[in-house]
């Protein structure tokens, strides 16, 4: 177990190093002079030379990479060109909004997918299951971007029961000291604010959740159905358990492992999806910031955001491995 963990950590380090090289190279490939871009018009040649020396741009590319990497490791991601602020501060200020949205979407996906899977398992072999299969097929082929537009159209425009932009109503007085609004509102027992936040978040979260919910529903249903005619499940039925009890107590745990792995892998896709869905709903998270950064060609900021996303992705994959080991007793002892 310890050896596995160690190997994983080494492989993570290598991956992150690779990511940093890709980001570094990609940004260096940009045509145009970054110094001129940072200084803006009206700067003298001396200014440019001074800044170049400050940034280490007069040195070789390897040395530049080394300087950049040591800075990044120390948390110095540079200064945003368009917003004139420290990149790390900007990124960390927006990250909580994205994380809250992603986790709410994950909860939606798990609930919805689990419900579809259990219902499909109980009603297996009938029209209900066929209907669920059809729904999953449609949902799976529809990207989060289209779901977002669809929800905006139906709930925001035609039914007009939901606002379609922002994270929280701007006129509200916010007592928050952190950026984790949703969590903090619950901890402070300000459920009025929680309701307002959820009111803004449920549509983008649902748009992100729907494709994943179909995947969860489909795979979990398949695993459950395979488990349902194993001997120990039959034995549990003979103990007088109802179909529901049998599913939850006996079948679920063994059926869950493949679904959890898939969910975790797909969760990174979901987080990737926040970029466009946040834009769609004008939700003030990291993804929206990223698109602004790209439009403004704010390269330090883009670098910072991509790196933060990569670190999150890698951490999620690590968490999956650990979770898998915990869930599977045979692996834990093996």
């Amino acid at each position: 177990m310890l050896k596995r963990l160690l190997l994983r950590l080494i492989s993570i380090a290598i991956t992150l190093l690779g990511v940093s090289i890709v980001v570094f190279v990609a940004v260096r490939l940009v045509p145009g002079n970054p110094v001129a871009m940072m200084l803006g018009p009206g700067a003298t040649a001396e200014d440019a030379a001074a800044l170049e020396a400050l940034l280490g741009l007069d040195k070789s590319i390897l040395v530049q990479y080394w300087i950049w990497l040591t800075n990044v490791v120390q948390g110095d991601f540079g200064t945003s060109i368009s917003l004139r602020q420290d990149v790390l501060t900007l990124v960390l200020g927006r990250l909580p909004a994205t994380l809250e949205l992603a986790f709410l979407a994950l909860v939606f996906a798990a609930l919805l997918g689990g419900m579809l899977a259990v219902t499909g398992t109980i009603r297996r072999g009938g029209w209900t299951e066929n209907g669920i299969d059809l729904w999953n097929g449609l949902t799976l082929s529809t990207p989060d971007f289209l779901w977002g537009l669809f929800l905006i159209l139906v709930f925001g425009v035609w039914l007009q029961i939901a606002g379609i932009s922002g994270r929280i109503s701007p006129q509200l007085d916010l007592p928050f000291t952190t950026q984790f609004y949703l969590i903090e509102s619950v901890l402070r027992l300000r459920f009025d604010l929680t309701a307002n936040l959820i009111g803004h978040m449920w549509m983008p979260a649902l748009a992100l959740a729907l494709p994943l919910s179909a995947m969860i529903g489909q795979l979990l249903k398949q695993s459950l159905k395979e488990t349902m005619h194993l001997d120990y499940v039959t034995l549990a039925r003979a103990k007088g358990f109802t179909e529901n009890q049998v599913i939850w107590r006996e079948a679920m745990r063994n059926a869950l492992a493949p679904t959890l792995t898939l969910t975790a892998v797909q969760f990174t896709h979901l987080i990737g999806g926040t970029v466009i869905v946040e834009r769609l709903f004008s939700y003030g998270g990291l993804g929206n910031l990223a698109i602004d950064a790209v439009i403004n060609r704010d390269l330090p900021l883009i670098q910072g955001i991509v790196l933060v996303f990569a670190v999150i992705f890698v951490l999620i994959n690590l968490a999956v491995d650990l979770l898998y080991a915990v869930l599977n007793p045979r692996l834990r002892h093996g």
């Binding site: 970029v275 834009r279 992705f313």
Partner: protein, 283 residues
């Protein structure tokens, strides 16, 4: 999409026919757009702003799907948008497929350090959120249709590599592959004659999936204004514009949405159905 998520191999010919039918229509319109589109997609008629589609009062007969906020014909823009989408789907899809499949075949068949290197790069690539990666790339190499296609290839080759590598490894373990080897067939000939034909159905189904994804990525990039120039009609651009005028003219938004939805859905379903039909193992 995961292997386990494929729909059951129960033969559903109507899936093949429906999706195949829509795709034929899509490619047909894409090809013939300059001749069959009723109007110039760029022509602005400020006297005919936001005309509704034909079943709503106030519609003009010349504009069956209405006009947008600049008075441009929605139907014509939709048709020309299909051309852009089809170009991206074909070129980006095929190029991605070629690059990714070759790498996957090499990694899965030769194993060893080749596999180590390729798999490591795939790992690194998988650590980037694809949409953000695409936006970053387009920002780096500049906007335009070529950039969009290049970005899709650079990002999505891993999808093929992962699947093809796994499938190749499975095939390489089969008895007939070993038999070919024992019979004196060279390694390369074994790869081409014994393995590739058996991996092909998988490649084909990922290819159709990838074409759908390419169209969505193009739409997303157009939506954030990073694809082809703003004037050119694209589905993503129409969606972006429709999103702005959503309260005044919802039809500007909904028609490109439906077109995008049906096309993506058809690509995935078509690949799936095709595979069920031609995969010797599943059949």
């Amino acid at each position: 999409m995961d292997e386990a998520l494929r729909t059951s191999p129960r033969a559903t010919p109507w899936r093949l026919w429906l999706s195949g039918g829509w795709l034929t229509l899509f490619f047909g319109v894409a090809l013939l757009a300059p001749w069959i589109a009723p109007h110039d997609p760029l022509y602005q008629d400020l006297f005919l702003q936001r005309l509704p589609p034909f079943w709503i009062d106030g519609a003009e007969t010349g504009h069956p799907l209405g006009t947008d906020s600049l008075g441009r014909d929605v139907a014509s823009r939709l048709m020309h948008g299909a051309s852009v989408a089809a170009t991206v789907a074909l070129i980006a899809g095929l190029a991605t497929c070629l690059l990714g499949s070759v790498l996957g075949l090499l990694a899965g068949f030769y194993r060893g350090w080749v596999d180590q290197v390729i798999s490591r790069i795939v790992d690194i690539w998988m650590s980037f959120p694809p949409v953000l990666f695409a936006i970053l790339l387009v920002a780096v190499i500049g906007t335009g249709l070529t950039s969009v296609i290049v970005a899709i290839i650079v990002i999505d080759w891993t999808r093929f590599t992962r699947v093809v590598r796994a499938e190749t490894m499975a095939q390489a373990r089969m008895d007939y592959t070993e038999a070919a080897h024992v019979a004196g067939m060279s390694r390369f000939a074994t790869l081409m004659r014994e393995i590739l034909p058996n991996v092909a159905p998988v490649i084909l189904s990922v290819l159709t999936l990838q074409m759908g994804i390419a169209i969505v990525v193009e739409a997303i990039l157009s939506f954030v204004n990073l694809s082809v120039s703003t004037d050119d009609p694209t589905w993503g651009g129409m969606i972006a514009e429709g999103r702005v005028s959503i309260h005044q003219a919802w039809w500007v938004l909904i028609f490109p949405m439906i077109a995008l939805f049906l096309t993506v859905l058809s690509f995935t379903q078509f690949g799936d159905a095709l595979r069920n039909r031609f995969d010797p193992v599943l059949r």
